[in-house]
Amino acid sequence: MLNEDFNIDQFKKSWQEQPVSDVYNTSEIEGMLNKKSTNYVKYIFWISLAEFLFFAIVGICTIFSTQRSNSFTNILEKLGVQMNDDVEMNFEHLYFALKVFSLLITAIFVFLFYRNYLKIKVECNLKNFILQIIKFKRTVNLFIFTNIGLLIVFSGIITYFIMNVLQAQNIHLNQATLIGFITGIVISIGLGVLLIWLYYRIVYGIIMSRLSRNLEQLQDIENEKGQ
Protein backbone atom coordinates (compact mmCIF):
# COMPACT_ATOMS: atom_id res chain seq x y z
CA MET A 1 0.00 0.00 0.00
CA LEU A 2 2.81 2.38 0.84
CA ASN A 3 5.94 1.61 -1.05
CA GLU A 4 4.86 1.26 -4.70
CA ASP A 5 3.70 4.79 -5.38
CA PHE A 6 4.93 6.43 -2.27
CA ASN A 7 4.42 10.14 -2.19
CA ILE A 8 5.02 11.95 1.07
CA ASP A 9 2.37 14.55 0.24
CA GLN A 10 -0.26 11.86 0.69
CA PHE A 11 0.85 11.50 4.30
CA LYS A 12 0.44 15.14 5.24
CA LYS A 13 -3.15 14.75 6.37
CA SER A 14 -2.43 11.71 8.55
CA TRP A 15 0.64 13.44 9.99
CA GLN A 16 -1.25 16.60 10.88
CA GLU A 17 -4.14 14.65 12.43
CA GLN A 18 -2.01 12.66 14.85
CA PRO A 19 -3.53 12.32 18.32
CA VAL A 20 -0.97 14.63 19.92
CA SER A 21 -2.93 17.70 20.94
CA ASP A 22 -4.13 16.54 24.35
CA VAL A 23 -1.32 14.57 25.97
CA TYR A 24 -0.38 17.04 28.75
CA ASN A 25 -2.72 19.32 30.73
CA THR A 26 -1.84 22.84 31.91
CA SER A 27 -1.00 21.82 35.48
CA GLU A 28 1.45 19.17 34.19
CA ILE A 29 3.05 21.82 31.96
CA GLU A 30 3.22 24.30 34.85
CA GLY A 31 4.89 21.61 36.95
CA MET A 32 7.58 21.23 34.31
CA LEU A 33 8.62 24.88 34.76
CA ASN A 34 10.05 24.08 38.18
CA LYS A 35 12.12 21.14 36.93
CA LYS A 36 15.87 21.33 36.38
CA SER A 37 17.22 21.79 32.89
CA THR A 38 19.98 19.41 31.85
CA ASN A 39 21.41 20.38 28.52
CA TYR A 40 24.79 20.52 26.81
CA VAL A 41 25.21 24.31 26.89
CA LYS A 42 24.54 24.39 30.60
CA TYR A 43 27.05 21.56 31.00
CA ILE A 44 29.68 23.54 29.04
CA PHE A 45 28.84 26.65 31.06
CA TRP A 46 29.40 25.04 34.47
CA ILE A 47 32.53 23.17 33.38
CA SER A 48 33.99 26.34 31.87
CA LEU A 49 33.12 28.37 34.94
CA ALA A 50 34.87 25.78 37.11
CA GLU A 51 37.92 26.02 34.85
CA PHE A 52 38.06 29.80 35.04
CA LEU A 53 37.73 29.68 38.81
CA PHE A 54 40.42 27.02 39.03
CA PHE A 55 42.91 29.03 36.96
CA ALA A 56 42.05 32.25 38.77
CA ILE A 57 42.45 30.66 42.24
CA VAL A 58 45.70 28.95 41.28
CA GLY A 59 46.96 32.28 39.89
CA ILE A 60 46.04 34.23 43.00
CA CYS A 61 47.46 31.55 45.32
CA THR A 62 50.80 31.49 43.53
CA ILE A 63 51.11 35.28 43.81
CA PHE A 64 50.89 35.08 47.59
CA SER A 65 52.71 31.81 48.01
CA THR A 66 56.38 31.76 49.08
CA GLN A 67 56.86 28.11 48.17
CA ARG A 68 57.61 28.68 44.52
CA SER A 69 60.34 31.27 45.23
CA ASN A 70 61.96 28.69 47.52
CA SER A 71 61.82 25.99 44.86
CA PHE A 72 63.13 28.48 42.29
CA THR A 73 65.93 29.43 44.67
CA ASN A 74 66.76 25.73 45.04
CA ILE A 75 67.04 25.31 41.28
CA LEU A 76 69.32 28.35 41.02
CA GLU A 77 71.49 27.12 43.89
CA LYS A 78 71.77 23.68 42.26
CA LEU A 79 73.00 25.43 39.12
CA GLY A 80 75.68 27.11 41.27
CA VAL A 81 74.20 30.61 41.44
CA GLN A 82 75.13 32.77 44.44
CA MET A 83 71.78 33.97 45.80
CA ASN A 84 71.78 37.66 46.73
CA ASP A 85 69.17 40.38 47.25
CA ASP A 86 69.49 41.58 43.66
CA VAL A 87 68.77 38.19 42.12
CA GLU A 88 65.86 37.52 44.49
CA MET A 89 64.32 40.95 44.00
CA ASN A 90 64.64 40.78 40.21
CA PHE A 91 62.97 37.39 40.23
CA GLU A 92 60.20 38.61 42.56
CA HIS A 93 59.46 41.52 40.23
CA LEU A 94 59.53 39.33 37.15
CA TYR A 95 57.28 36.70 38.72
CA PHE A 96 54.82 39.28 39.99
CA ALA A 97 54.59 40.94 36.56
CA LEU A 98 54.00 37.58 34.85
CA LYS A 99 51.24 36.59 37.29
CA VAL A 100 49.48 39.95 37.09
CA PHE A 101 49.62 39.70 33.31
CA SER A 102 48.22 36.16 33.47
CA LEU A 103 45.35 37.21 35.78
CA LEU A 104 44.58 40.17 33.55
CA ILE A 105 44.27 37.78 30.60
CA THR A 106 41.97 35.55 32.69
CA ALA A 107 39.78 38.54 33.60
CA ILE A 108 39.46 39.51 29.92
CA PHE A 109 38.46 35.95 29.07
CA VAL A 110 35.89 35.78 31.88
CA PHE A 111 34.27 38.88 30.39
CA LEU A 112 34.34 37.49 26.82
CA PHE A 113 33.13 34.09 28.01
CA TYR A 114 30.13 35.53 29.86
CA ARG A 115 29.29 37.92 27.02
CA ASN A 116 29.28 35.09 24.45
CA TYR A 117 27.22 32.88 26.78
CA LEU A 118 24.57 35.60 27.01
CA LYS A 119 24.52 35.83 23.22
CA ILE A 120 23.26 32.24 22.88
CA LYS A 121 19.58 32.59 22.03
CA VAL A 122 17.61 29.39 21.72
CA GLU A 123 14.90 31.19 19.73
CA CYS A 124 17.14 32.05 16.79
CA ASN A 125 17.50 29.84 13.71
CA LEU A 126 19.37 26.52 13.94
CA LYS A 127 22.47 27.65 12.05
CA ASN A 128 22.95 30.78 14.14
CA PHE A 129 22.24 28.82 17.29
CA ILE A 130 24.97 26.30 16.52
CA LEU A 131 27.36 29.10 15.52
CA GLN A 132 26.65 30.95 18.77
CA ILE A 133 27.47 27.84 20.81
CA ILE A 134 30.61 27.21 18.77
CA LYS A 135 31.66 30.84 19.25
CA PHE A 136 31.09 30.52 22.99
CA LYS A 137 33.09 27.31 23.06
CA ARG A 138 35.83 28.94 20.97
CA THR A 139 36.28 31.55 23.69
CA VAL A 140 36.90 28.72 26.13
CA ASN A 141 39.30 27.05 23.65
CA LEU A 142 41.13 30.31 23.09
CA PHE A 143 41.47 30.72 26.84
CA ILE A 144 43.03 27.28 27.11
CA PHE A 145 45.40 27.84 24.19
CA THR A 146 46.36 31.22 25.66
CA ASN A 147 47.15 29.49 28.94
CA ILE A 148 49.26 26.90 27.14
CA GLY A 149 50.96 29.74 25.25
CA LEU A 150 51.57 31.65 28.47
CA LEU A 151 53.01 28.51 30.07
CA ILE A 152 55.52 28.22 27.21
CA VAL A 153 56.32 31.96 27.09
CA PHE A 154 56.70 32.22 30.88
CA SER A 155 58.99 29.18 30.91
CA GLY A 156 61.02 30.83 28.14
CA ILE A 157 61.26 34.13 30.03
CA ILE A 158 62.27 32.40 33.27
CA THR A 159 64.87 30.31 31.42
CA TYR A 160 66.22 33.50 29.84
CA PHE A 161 66.34 35.08 33.30
CA ILE A 162 68.30 32.10 34.67
CA MET A 163 70.72 32.22 31.73
CA ASN A 164 71.28 35.95 32.35
CA VAL A 165 72.01 35.36 36.03
CA LEU A 166 74.43 32.56 35.12
CA GLN A 167 76.17 34.85 32.65
CA ALA A 168 76.32 37.77 35.11
CA GLN A 169 77.92 35.53 37.75
CA ASN A 170 80.24 34.05 35.15
CA ILE A 171 79.01 30.49 35.75
CA HIS A 172 79.59 27.98 32.98
CA LEU A 173 77.39 24.91 33.14
CA ASN A 174 78.89 21.63 32.03
CA GLN A 175 77.17 19.97 29.08
CA ALA A 176 75.40 17.29 31.14
CA THR A 177 73.83 19.84 33.52
CA LEU A 178 72.78 22.06 30.63
CA ILE A 179 71.19 19.16 28.76
CA GLY A 180 69.45 17.97 31.96
CA PHE A 181 68.18 21.50 32.62
CA ILE A 182 66.79 22.02 29.12
CA THR A 183 65.37 18.47 28.94
CA GLY A 184 63.60 19.04 32.29
CA ILE A 185 61.98 22.23 31.01
CA VAL A 186 60.93 20.68 27.69
CA ILE A 187 59.47 17.55 29.36
CA SER A 188 57.56 19.63 31.93
CA ILE A 189 56.07 21.85 29.23
CA GLY A 190 55.27 18.88 26.97
CA LEU A 191 53.59 16.97 29.78
CA GLY A 192 51.58 20.03 30.80
CA VAL A 193 50.38 20.62 27.23
CA LEU A 194 49.52 16.93 26.74
CA LEU A 195 47.48 16.75 29.95
CA ILE A 196 45.56 19.93 29.09
CA TRP A 197 44.87 18.67 25.56
CA LEU A 198 43.68 15.25 26.82
CA TYR A 199 41.41 16.87 29.37
CA TYR A 200 39.70 18.99 26.72
CA ARG A 201 39.29 16.10 24.32
CA ILE A 202 37.47 14.13 27.02
CA VAL A 203 35.36 16.92 28.50
CA TYR A 204 34.30 18.70 25.31
CA GLY A 205 34.82 16.01 22.68
CA ILE A 206 31.22 14.72 22.54
CA ILE A 207 29.45 18.06 22.44
CA MET A 208 31.87 19.58 19.94
CA SER A 209 31.63 16.65 17.54
CA ARG A 210 27.83 16.81 17.80
CA LEU A 211 27.80 20.54 17.00
CA SER A 212 30.21 20.07 14.12
CA ARG A 213 28.11 17.22 12.71
CA ASN A 214 24.94 19.35 12.76
CA LEU A 215 26.74 22.29 11.20
CA GLU A 216 28.20 20.03 8.51
CA GLN A 217 24.69 18.79 7.68
CA LEU A 218 23.52 22.38 7.22
CA GLN A 219 26.57 23.20 5.10
CA ASP A 220 25.94 20.10 2.95
CA ILE A 221 22.38 21.29 2.34
CA GLU A 222 23.70 24.70 1.32
CA ASN A 223 26.26 23.16 -1.02
CA GLU A 224 23.72 20.91 -2.74
CA LYS A 225 22.35 23.88 -4.65
CA GLY A 226 25.31 24.02 -6.98
CA GLN A 227 25.51 20.29 -7.65
Partner: protein
Protein backbone atom coordinates in the same frame (compact mmCIF):
# COMPACT_ATOMS: atom_id res chain seq x y z
CA UNK B 1 18.12 61.08 75.94
CA UNK B 2 16.34 57.98 77.30
CA UNK B 3 13.08 59.17 75.77
CA UNK B 4 14.87 59.78 72.54
CA UNK B 5 16.34 56.27 72.59
CA UNK B 6 12.91 54.69 73.30
CA UNK B 7 11.36 56.74 70.57
CA UNK B 8 14.16 55.66 68.24
CA UNK B 9 13.61 52.00 69.05
CA UNK B 10 9.88 52.31 68.46
CA UNK B 11 10.54 54.06 65.24
CA UNK B 12 12.87 51.27 64.27
CA UNK B 13 10.20 48.66 65.03
CA UNK B 14 7.55 50.58 63.08
CA UNK B 15 9.97 51.07 60.23
CA UNK B 16 11.00 47.40 60.10
CA UNK B 17 7.33 46.34 60.22
CA UNK B 18 6.49 48.68 57.35
CA UNK B 19 9.50 47.42 55.44
CA UNK B 20 8.47 43.79 56.01
CA UNK B 21 4.90 44.44 54.91
CA UNK B 22 6.16 46.33 51.87
CA UNK B 23 8.42 43.39 51.02
CA UNK B 24 5.68 40.81 51.53
CA UNK B 25 3.27 42.96 49.43
CA UNK B 26 5.90 43.23 46.71
CA UNK B 27 6.58 39.50 46.92
CA UNK B 28 2.90 38.61 46.64
CA UNK B 29 2.59 41.04 43.73
CA UNK B 30 5.56 39.43 41.93
CA UNK B 31 4.27 35.97 42.79
CA UNK B 32 0.80 36.81 41.41
CA UNK B 33 2.33 38.25 38.25
CA UNK B 34 4.54 35.17 37.88
CA UNK B 35 1.58 32.87 38.49
CA UNK B 36 -0.50 34.58 35.84
CA UNK B 37 2.47 34.56 33.45
CA UNK B 38 3.01 30.84 34.10
CA UNK B 39 -0.68 30.13 33.54
CA UNK B 40 -0.71 32.14 30.32
CA UNK B 41 2.40 30.30 29.15
CA UNK B 42 1.11 26.84 30.12
CA UNK B 43 -2.12 27.51 28.24
CA UNK B 44 -0.14 28.54 25.17
CA UNK B 45 2.01 25.38 25.35
CA UNK B 46 -1.03 23.17 25.92
CA UNK B 47 -2.71 24.59 22.83
CA UNK B 48 0.41 24.01 20.73
CA UNK B 49 1.75 20.85 22.38
CA UNK B 50 1.26 18.76 19.21
CA UNK B 51 4.32 20.42 17.66
CA UNK B 52 6.49 19.74 20.71
CA UNK B 53 5.31 16.13 20.99
CA UNK B 54 6.08 15.47 17.33
CA UNK B 55 9.59 16.90 17.73
CA UNK B 56 10.10 14.91 20.96
CA UNK B 57 9.08 11.67 19.22
CA UNK B 58 11.21 12.34 16.15
CA UNK B 59 14.38 12.83 18.16
CA UNK B 60 14.12 10.14 20.83
CA UNK B 61 13.84 6.36 20.96
CA UNK B 62 12.29 5.76 24.37
CA UNK B 63 9.35 7.06 26.32
CA UNK B 64 11.61 8.33 29.10
CA UNK B 65 13.72 10.36 26.67
CA UNK B 66 10.61 11.60 24.87
CA UNK B 67 9.18 12.94 28.13
CA UNK B 68 12.52 14.44 29.13
CA UNK B 69 12.88 16.15 25.77
CA UNK B 70 9.32 17.50 25.97
CA UNK B 71 10.16 18.93 29.39
CA UNK B 72 13.46 20.41 28.20
CA UNK B 73 11.71 22.09 25.26
CA UNK B 74 9.06 23.51 27.61
CA UNK B 75 11.83 24.87 29.88
CA UNK B 76 13.65 26.46 26.95
CA UNK B 77 10.39 27.97 25.70
CA UNK B 78 9.73 29.37 29.17
CA UNK B 79 13.22 30.90 29.31
CA UNK B 80 12.79 32.60 25.97
CA UNK B 81 9.16 33.55 26.58
CA UNK B 82 9.90 37.20 27.38
CA UNK B 83 12.05 37.70 24.31
CA UNK B 84 9.42 36.01 22.14
CA UNK B 85 6.44 38.16 23.08
CA UNK B 86 5.40 40.09 20.02
CA UNK B 87 8.68 39.41 18.21
CA UNK B 88 7.57 36.59 15.90
CA UNK B 89 4.75 34.14 15.16
CA UNK B 90 4.06 31.57 17.89
CA UNK B 91 4.72 28.71 15.50
CA UNK B 92 8.07 30.17 14.37
CA UNK B 93 9.24 30.63 17.95
CA UNK B 94 8.07 27.16 18.98
CA UNK B 95 9.60 25.38 15.98
CA UNK B 96 12.94 27.11 16.50
CA UNK B 97 13.18 26.47 20.22
CA UNK B 98 11.92 22.88 19.90
CA UNK B 99 14.28 21.99 17.03
CA UNK B 100 17.30 23.78 18.54
CA UNK B 101 16.73 21.93 21.79
CA UNK B 102 16.19 18.54 20.18
CA UNK B 103 19.03 18.77 17.66
CA UNK B 104 21.68 20.53 19.70
CA UNK B 105 20.96 20.81 23.40
CA UNK B 106 19.26 17.62 24.52
CA UNK B 107 21.20 14.94 26.42
CA UNK B 108 19.62 11.51 26.05
CA UNK B 109 19.53 9.26 29.09
CA UNK B 110 18.80 5.91 27.47
CA UNK B 111 20.92 3.99 24.97
CA UNK B 112 19.65 3.28 21.46
CA UNK B 113 17.01 0.55 21.76
CA UNK B 114 16.70 -2.62 19.70
CA UNK B 115 14.59 -2.44 16.54
CA UNK B 116 11.66 -4.34 18.14
CA UNK B 117 11.60 -2.00 21.11
CA UNK B 118 11.66 0.95 18.74
CA UNK B 119 8.65 -0.32 16.83
CA UNK B 120 6.75 -0.91 20.09
CA UNK B 121 7.60 2.60 21.15
CA UNK B 122 6.21 4.15 18.00
CA UNK B 123 3.23 1.89 17.89
CA UNK B 124 2.11 2.34 21.49
CA UNK B 125 -0.61 4.91 20.81
CA UNK B 126 -2.19 2.92 18.05
CA UNK B 127 -2.67 -0.52 19.52
CA UNK B 128 -6.36 -0.11 20.27
CA UNK B 129 -7.38 1.53 17.05
CA UNK B 130 -5.04 0.06 14.54
CA UNK B 131 -6.30 1.61 11.33
CA UNK B 132 -4.36 2.40 8.20
CA UNK B 133 -3.82 6.06 9.04
CA UNK B 134 -2.09 5.17 12.27
CA UNK B 135 0.03 2.54 10.59
CA UNK B 136 1.13 5.20 8.16
CA UNK B 137 2.18 7.51 10.98
CA UNK B 138 4.11 4.73 12.74
CA UNK B 139 5.92 3.92 9.53
CA UNK B 140 6.58 7.59 8.82
CA UNK B 141 8.25 8.05 12.20
CA UNK B 142 10.34 4.95 11.65
CA UNK B 143 11.53 6.08 8.22
CA UNK B 144 12.07 9.77 9.06
CA UNK B 145 14.19 8.77 12.03
CA UNK B 146 16.61 7.07 9.67
CA UNK B 147 17.53 10.51 8.30
CA UNK B 148 20.19 12.81 9.80
CA UNK B 149 18.84 15.23 12.42
CA UNK B 150 18.67 18.37 10.29
CA UNK B 151 16.92 16.52 7.46
CA UNK B 152 14.35 15.18 9.92
CA UNK B 153 13.50 18.78 10.79
CA UNK B 154 12.95 19.66 7.12
CA UNK B 155 10.63 16.69 6.58
CA UNK B 156 8.67 17.44 9.74
CA UNK B 157 8.10 21.07 8.83
CA UNK B 158 7.16 20.03 5.29
CA UNK B 159 4.60 17.54 6.62
CA UNK B 160 3.24 20.27 8.89
CA UNK B 161 2.69 22.35 5.73
CA UNK B 162 5.13 25.14 6.55
CA UNK B 163 6.05 27.23 3.51
CA UNK B 164 9.63 26.75 2.24
CA UNK B 165 10.40 30.30 3.29
CA UNK B 166 9.62 29.45 6.94
CA UNK B 167 11.47 26.10 6.78
CA UNK B 168 14.53 27.92 5.44
CA UNK B 169 14.32 30.71 8.02
CA UNK B 170 13.98 28.29 10.91
CA UNK B 171 17.12 26.46 9.85
CA UNK B 172 19.14 29.44 8.64
CA UNK B 173 19.44 28.27 5.02
CA UNK B 174 18.09 29.75 1.79
CA UNK B 175 14.63 29.00 0.45
CA UNK B 176 16.17 27.48 -2.70
CA UNK B 177 18.34 25.16 -0.57
CA UNK B 178 15.31 24.08 1.45
CA UNK B 179 13.32 23.33 -1.72
CA UNK B 180 16.17 21.44 -3.40
CA UNK B 181 16.82 19.43 -0.24
CA UNK B 182 13.15 18.53 0.22
CA UNK B 183 12.89 17.32 -3.37
CA UNK B 184 15.87 15.03 -2.77
CA UNK B 185 14.46 13.92 0.55
CA UNK B 186 11.25 12.83 -1.17
CA UNK B 187 13.29 10.40 -3.25
CA UNK B 188 15.28 9.22 -0.22
CA UNK B 189 12.09 8.65 1.75
CA UNK B 190 10.59 6.70 -1.14
CA UNK B 191 13.65 4.43 -1.19
CA UNK B 192 13.54 3.97 2.57
CA UNK B 193 9.84 3.18 2.41
CA UNK B 194 10.50 0.54 -0.24
CA UNK B 195 13.16 -1.04 1.91
CA UNK B 196 11.39 -0.89 5.26
CA UNK B 197 7.62 -0.86 4.68
Amino acid sequence: MTLGFKFGAQEKIVFSHSLMSAFSYLRSLISKKLDSKQKEFSKLVKENQGLIIKVSRLYTNSLEDEQDLFQEIVLQLWRSYDSFKGQSKISTWMYRVALNTAITLFRKKTKSPQTDELMDFHHRDYVEDDDEKQQQITLLYKVIKMLPKVERAIVMMYLDDLPYRDIAENLGITEVNARVKMNRLKKTLKELMTQHA
